[in-house]
């Protein structure tokens, strides 16, 4: 008989909880959001021995159940609500060998909620090197639980863990600490008022403002008014609880945990002395960033060119081979170039996430937070803002979600507001195609000139983010003192499985999410470009025939151009041309900009659609753009107009999804509106200055 049980994976950050999750569920996982909030929810299915099937929920990392952020709050809210459909039958607390003491704090708290709790001690492969020995049997006995010593890295002990999960019913739910001993008077009177409730759960409800069983909570507020004391009283009790728990943990570890310091190697110390050095730390960080951008450019050009050419061939093939009742023009000129515009960025996005996940997995990111904090504070940001700003180079949406662990609201708000200035992967296609067009493929001091310009634009994004933060910092009122506590994890070699899963998942979500928008807009654009109002559009052939022409080919070309100019799309583009002409753009670019306000990555697809309709002779988008001329014969894409266009895309707020997430995270329409207006104004001015400067 098969039965389904709920398993919750809980643990401190940096314990390899995600690796354990990946081992349990493999590719059978899906990510989503918790209802109403944007905390990422990772769930997967795991087959256990004895025909048991488990739904595994990977909860956000937390140091204790005293939640101080939205992410952490998810954990306590779930554990207090028995009616939640995800309420765990068994909790698995993942700890790591070296920080077992601190990890056990969370373990004892969860155990005291009367949930069967298994302790996983991960990274057993590090034990010998660190001179650690653990008596797991004695530990299990003292904690009244099962202890699985595993190494997610070497895939050791996972089978044993599965066995423990399947037989969770044998695990005692006896608490580690009796909460009464913290303050007998207070807890005594509390249990008199609510004789039927678990005292520790009550205490959790009082100290965290959770909305579990709302009715019950209201009742308690009325009857228990005498028990709700000042926050300082509660905080003192929390500290007392923490001390008591550590006393208990110390007494346990004294018997079963031996660390022989003479055997420990000091790799961490040696690496830290270099990586957090006040000079070398910065030099290394800069070199790492530079290498990443060079690699992004150099390594991805081959697969990208390949994809570009393949889609061009595919489009030609479709035009001649698709039966006419299937609308071959829509497929060949609208849908295929639109799809090509998405697929072409897969190599680069995958590579960017490769680097970001490696920096995270190795533990290097925390060192960056450490060396950058003081510098960032000058701009009203926190060292923790560095991670959102760097993640912003992938996508602003997860980056804005990553601001949650910034404790101070002002620092967090400023980070949210300026993150969209960083160069997200959606800007990359725009930059790549324009750089390829206007910057020669030469080497300057051994570095690729195109790669250098790309890096300059990444720097420009960061610089603008910092400048905007500085301005906001000066005009916004100061609030409470900021707390800043960052764990500095051990250095680790990244786990291939985690890196690959991150890349696959993020790339997939880009292709699917952005892809939908791009495809829809491509089709809409094609329709608008192939239809036009009234007689001027319908009589196109006759109008073009009036002009003197040499060949049939020239006639076809002139006809397409005429049609585009008089289509609905052409009319919109022409309408805004006076506004964008000072920036060096023609009405075709105008169309691309207008359509980009839904999502930037639409730019290239739009140009592909527009130029394909306008001129079917050339093979690839880039060649088509290079051949584009103003009516007076001068090229449209010059150094000045290309740079101006890049500056516009660098600063403008052209992403509906980002606006939506900012609205959600700040809980107001005010901030996203400010972003939209201010960023677009900055973009226009920046592009104007750039064009005027370079064309002078």
């Amino acid at each position: 008989m098969s039965k389904n049980i709920n398993v919750a994976l809980i643990g401190n950050p940096n314990t390899g909880k995600s690796s354990v999750f990946n081992h349990l569920t493999g590719l059978n996982q899906k990510t989503g959001n918790y209802p109403g909030i944007t905390v990422e929810k990772r769930q997967g299915v795991c087959k256990l021995p004895r025909g048991v099937k488990a739904t595994v929920l990977d909860l956000p990392g937390t140091y204790s159940l005293n939640a101080s952020s939205l992410d952490e709050n998810v954990v306590i809210e779930l554990l207090l609500n028995k009616n939640d459909k995800d309420y765990p039958d068994v909790a698995v607390v993942v700890s790591d060998v070296e920080n077992l003491k601190r990890n056990l704090l969370l373990f004892t708290q969860i155990k005291d909620l009367n949930i069967p709790t298994i302790l996983v001690i991960n990274m057993s492969d590090r034990m010998r090197r660190k001179g650690i020995r653990i008596d797991t049997e004695r530990l299990a006995q003292m904690l009244h639980t099962k202890v699985a010593l595993i190494s997610a890295r070497k895939n050791e002990g996972v089978q044993q863990l599965k066995e423990y999960i399947a037989t969770y019913k044998n695990i005692s739910t006896e608490p580690c600490l009796s909460i009464e001993q913290i303050d007998p008077e207070y807890f005594g009177s509390l249990s008199q008022t609510f004789p039927k409730q678990s005292l520790y759960k009550l205490w959790m409800v009082i100290t965290q403002d959770v909305n579990f069983a709302r009715v019950e909570r209201k009742k308690m507020e009325v009857e228990g008014a005498t028990h709700i004391r000042t926050t300082s009283f509660l905080k003192r009790l929390q500290q007392k609880e923490t001390i008591k728990r550590y006393q208990f943990i110390n007494s346990v570890l004294k018997e079963c945990y031996i660390k022989d310091l003479r055997q420990a190697t000091d790799l961490r110390g040696r690496l830290d002395r270099v990586l957090t050095h006040r000079v070398w730390g910065f030099v290394i960080f800069f070199v790492i960033l530079l290498s990443i951008f060079q690699a992004l450019y150099d390594w991805s050009s081959i697969p990208m060119d390949f994809i570009d050419v393949q889609f061009a061939h595919f489009s030609d093939w479709a035009k001649t081979n698709i039966p006419s009742w299937l609308a071959p023009n829509l497929i060949a000129e609208g849908i295929i170039p639109g799809l090509g515009g998405i697929v072409i960025f897969v190599p680069q996005i995958a590579m960017l996430f490769l680097f970001i996940s490696i920096l995270e997995e190795t533990g290097y990111m925390s060192r960056v937070v450490f060396i950058m904090d003081r510098l960032m504070r000058r701009f009203g940001l926190s060292g923790k803002s560095v991670i959102p700003l760097i993640s912003g180079t992938a996508c602003a949406i997860p980056a804005i979600m990553a601001t949650r662990n910034i404790e101070n609201w002002k620092e967090r708000l400023v980070t949210i507001l300026v993150t969209p200035f960083t160069t997200c992967s959606a800007r990359l296609p725009v930059y790549l195609i324009l750089i390829g067009l206007i910057i020669p493929n030469e080497r300057i001091l051994g570095a690729n000139a195109q790669g250098l310009v790309l890096m300059i634009f990444y720097m420009l994004g960061f610089a603008m983010a910092l400048l905007a933060a500085f301005v906001l910092h000066k005009i916004m009122p100061q609030n409470n003192p900021s707390y800043f506590v960052v764990e500095m994890p051990n250095y680790r070699i990244p786990l291939l499985k985690n890196v690959v899963l991150t890349i696959v998942e993020k790339t997939k979500s880009f292709v699917l999410e952005a892809g939908k928008v791009i495809l829809a807009i491509s089709i809409l654009l094609w329709v608008l470009a192939s239809n036009g109002p009234g007689k001027t559009f319908q009589n196109a052939s006759a109008e073009v025939a009036k002009t003197v022409l040499v060949s049939d080919a020239e006639f076809d070309q002139k006809l397409s151009a005429y049609k585009l100019e008089h289509s609905y799309l052409g009319i919109v583009g022409k309408g805004i041309e006076p506004i964008i002409r000072p920036l060096g753009y023609d009405w075709k670019i105008g169309i691309a900009i207008v359509s980009s306000f839904a999502a930037r990555e639409v730019f290239v697809g739009t140009l592909a659609t527009i130029y394909n309709v306008g001129d079917a002779e050339e093979e690839t988008i880039k060649n088509r753009m290079a051949a584009e001329r103003f009516p007076d014969g001068s090229p449209v894409f010059t150094l000045a107009s290309g740079l101006s266009l890049m500056v516009f895309y660098a600063f403008a707020m052209q992403c509906m999804s980002t606006l939506a997430i900012v609205r959600k995270e700040t809980n107001s329409w005010c901030w996203p509106s400010v972003q939209l207006v201010v960023m677009t104004a900055v973009a226009y001015l920046g592009a104007l200055l750039t064009f005027q400067y370079f064309s002078a």
Partner: protein, 75 residues
């Protein structure tokens, strides 16, 4: 003396602090009276501080460190 007075390589014992002025997270990570604390690194401008508190490695800002009173190790 407070934590902010330490130099790189120094270590001491946490003596006392006002629990209301410290983030709970710090206390949970082992910042409790009686525990040993060592200063491992300082970022530029001597802020933040990279500490080893009873085996836990973490970074805090100088303003927070200045609220934690310490005493010399008795040996």
């Amino acid at each position: 003396m407070t934590l902010a007075d330490l130099e790189i390589g120094d270590s001491a014992i946490i003596d006392s602090f006002d629990v209301e002025l410290l983030p709970m997270k710090l206390i949970e990570m082992g910042c409790l009276p009686g525990n040993e604390v060592g200063l491992l690194q300082l970022a530029p401008y001597r802020d933040p501080l990279y500490l080893d508190i009873a085996g836990a490695h973490l970074a805090i800002r100088r303003e927070t460190a200045a609220r934690i009173f310490i005493r010399k190790k008795s040996e």
